[in-house]
């Protein structure tokens, strides 16, 4: 698929789903965090859907949405401390999800059925350059949001710890002693 065709479908898809664009309230971000996360509204929706697929919500077990994994990634992408090469890698993976969706089903990822989404991500894992590494990193970031101290904005009300019966250590970090303030 050439780039022009891709852009055309992308913008059509974005327009079609504009009404459901997820709102993305920012964290109360510390001062050193600034700039642009570098993803379009449509790409945020793709990423949201990927995270939901990788770690779905269930009645008895929190999923990516419940632990604010999307916001976690937003923080990583806005963090001046995050290596620029790593940020590019994270963004490129989001783009690759939709490229693969278009290649296999001629639709954006968010327009796909569950089994098609699974096929797209498996295709990335098995066949795409850096696909597996990107998926691993997405799952790892979901785990950070699931199991890090709630003071960082994920793991709300310790939902991840409670689910897995994990006993955290003490003393736990207060807000003013988060690692980037030390």
């Amino acid at each position: 698929m050439d780039r022009r065709h891709f852009l055309k479908i992308t913008s059509a898809g974005a327009a079609a789903t504009a009404a459901t664009t997820a709102s993305l309230p920012l964290f109360a971000a510390p001062a050193q965090r600034s700039g642009d996360a570098g993803l379009s509204d449509q790409q945020w929706q793709t990423l949201d859907a990927v995270l939901d697929h990788l770690f779905p919500s269930e009645t008895e077990a929190p999923g990516a949405k419940d632990v604010k994994a999307l916001h976690w990634l937003q923080t990583v992408l806005l963090d001046d401390e995050t290596d620029e090469i790593h940020k590019q890698f994270l963004r490129a993976g989001v783009a690759q999800v939709d490229e693969t969706s278009l290649e296999l089903y001629q639709k954006l990822f968010i327009a796909l059925q569950q089994d098609q989404r699974e096929a797209v991500l498996r295709n990335m894992e098995k066949s795409k350059q850096q696909g597996r590494a990107w998926l691993q990193e997405m799952i790892r970031y979901i785990f950070e949001a699931l199991l890090s101290d709630p003071v960082y904005g994920g793991n709300p009300q310790a939902a991840g710890w409670i689910w897995l019966q994990h006993i955290p250590g003490f003393p736990r970090p207060p807000k003013e002693k988060r690692y980037f303030l030390l």
Partner: protein, 569 residues
């Protein structure tokens, strides 16, 4: 001749702390330069992001990195720059107190045989095995001193490999034990091996101006929030500073040691926290930056008499770099296999396992070959870090796990079982292909060459590591553990490094003399693990502490003795 200080110590970890403590206590003025910040108990929290994921206690690898070279199966060396390949991070804790803040405090003395390996077992082809220039008896009083000053808890039991002691038992009783300890004891009884309580550098009761352990289960890799862990900072530097004769300069990165036409050090050049270049001079200088950085600092410190780096006129600086060799393994104990009333006990996190086996410290097993040095087997809990544990669960048999199957696996892993780890330690034999040099391309943010570590290893490390790990696995199986695995690897544990400036009697083959003074720089001592010509078969922090106290006594003697004792006598 007047100096800014009597002694200037570079590096504040397990090698620098005892020198600062002992010299200040003896009445001498000491300055300690530490490149990292000065955190206290008020800054250490059980925060996995801080310690272990975002690496808040080590330099930014984009600014200060290393180069490592690992051996390729087909021959040759694979070069990795750690700024890009961050999994090979050689920094271990650049804060006041160094990496001793983040140790687990598994404390083992070396045994008499470690001091005379060459004369006991003979040479090993491809390894630079030597006897030490001192004996166990020379170091024993200082192991005992560490028990009392740093605070070591434990319990002496009778077993065939117990090293000689000048005191009957530890000054502090063992830390609280997990029910798994009893299961290991029973399994070892069944197998006819000796399960020995492992000493810990952790206070089991409040003393020495510090609190007792709080048993929260997050010890290794984390800074201690109570002061119970015997870090160089909590146990030594805090006291040294309180005495008024020790000054610590945090955020002070030493660039080079300057030397004059006689070859002596004249000043330390460092950058302070505002990046301003400053100098300090002292009568004597002590370097203790941890093995890789100690060698790098010397190699970067060229001078008229030291064209190839300070104390390097025989080309020995950086050679015979050591790590802890060994193997590892694990097994799973399912809570459901225990009676209902025992399950809550098994689920506890906090109390320690603290069990070691020394029966194979010397391996005398015809099936394994000639009688030879073996090592120590430790049993510990799987580290509780939840993100790291979860991350290891995503690998399935046919690709990555995600979705509900991944969630079910996490539930099983976290909720249903306790995991016991085997950590087996053997000698990392000194070899020509394990050394530190200066990299010709990569420089740090101050434009100084970074250290390059070539990480070759001797195949004997693997053989002994496998042997020990499989002996540990037998114990786990005898306990009824499931999924028992054991293995060894040639990859070094980057947090356990030594060597590079070995001590010895011959200036042609060693950097330091028996007092850990440089052969060709009269006012330079090195007191971190760099001095070790062989690594022993256990984690070596206790040995670094003990030797640094020993060298401190040599320095005090050289400066004229303890000022307070001479006043009173």
């Amino acid at each position: 001749m007047s100096h800014d200080f009597d002694v200037c110590v570079i590096g504040s970890g397990a090698g620098g702390g005892p020198v600062a403590y002992a010299l200040a206590e003896a009445g001498y003025s000491v300055v300690v330069l530490e490149k990292g910040p000065w955190f206290t108990e008020e800054d250490y929290y059980k925060d996995e992001l801080a310690c272990c994921i975002r690496n808040a206690y080590t330099p930014d690898l984009k600014e200060q990195s290393h180069v490592v070279e690992t051996e390729l199966d087909e021959g040759g060396w694979r070069r990795r720059e750690t700024a890009q390949d961050t999994s090979w991070n050689l920094w271990n804790g650049n804060v006041v107190g160094g990496s001793s803040n983040f140790m687990s405090g598994f404390f083992h003395r070396l045994k008499p045989v470690d001091f005379k390996q060459l004369s006991t077992f003979g040479p090993i082809e491809g390894a630079n095995v030597v006897d030490w220039p001192i004996s166990y008896d020379d170091l024993e009083p200082y192991y005992t001193k560490v028990e009392h000053v740093v605070g070591v808890s434990g319990r002496v039991v009778d077993h065939p490999h117990q090293e000689p002691r000048s005191t009957p038992d530890f000054p502090y009783p063992p830390t609280a034990e997990h029910p798994v300890s009893g299961l290991i004891d029973q399994a070892c009884d069944k197998l006819g091996v000796h399960s020995v309580p492992m000493p810990r550098a952790i206070l089991s009761k409040p003393d020495l101006g510090r609190q007792s352990c709080s048993y929260n289960g997050y010890c290794g890799s984390y800074g201690c929030a109570t002061g119970a862990k015997g870090s160089s900072r909590a146990a030594l530097l805090n006291h040294a500073v309180a005495g008024g004769r020790c000054k610590i300069l945090p955020d002070s990165h030493v660039i080079r040691l300057q030397s004059d036409s006689s070859g002596q050090i004249t000043a330390v050049e460092y950058r302070d926290k505002n990046d301003v270049v400053k100098h300090i001079d002292a009568a004597l200088y002590v370097v203790a930056c941890q093995a890789v950085e100690t060698s790098r600092l010397l190699l970067n410190s060229t001078g008229e008499k030291h064209p190839h780096g300070l104390a390097n006129n025989s080309g020995q600086v950086g050679k015979n770099l050591l790590f802890a060799g060994g193997g590892a393994g694990s097994g799973r104990l399912r809570y459901a296999d225990f009676p209902a009333e025992k399950r809550d006990e098994m689920r506890q996190i906090g109390p320690f396992i603290n069990r070691s086996i020394y029966d194979y410290y010397v391996i005398d097993d015809a099936d394994f070959g000639e009688k030879q040095k073996g090592g120590t087997i430790d049993f510990v809990h799987l580290h509780p870090n939840p993100v790291s544990r979860a991350t290891r669960q995503m690998r399935g048999s046919d690709g990555l796990l995600w979705g509900k199957p991944l969630k079910r696996r996490l539930e099983q892993h976290f909720r249903e079982s306790s995991y016991i780890k085997i950590e087996a330690f053997c000698d990392w034999l000194p070899v020509d292909d394990c050394f530190v040099s200066l990299d010709s391309k990569v420089r740090d943010k101050w434009d100084m060459p970074v250290a390059k570590a070539r990480l070759g290893f001797h195949v004997r490390n693997l053989q002994v590591g496998w042997y020990l790990a499989s002996k540990g696995a037998e114990v786990l199986k005898a306990m009824g553990a499931e999924n028992v695995v054991s293995f060894a690897s040639g990859s070094p544990p980057l947090n356990l490094m030594a060597g590079g400036c070995r001590f010895g009697d011959d200036p042609e083959t060693s950097v330091l003399n028996a007092d850990c003074r440089a052969h060709d720089v009269d006012n330079l001592y090195i007191t971190d693990g760099s001095f070790m010509p062989s690594a022993g078969s256990a984690p070596f922090t206790w040995t670094i502490y003990a030797n640094a106290f020993r060298v401190a006594d040599k320095i005090i003697e050289r400066l004229g003795g303890n000022k307070f004792q001479s006043l009173s006598s």
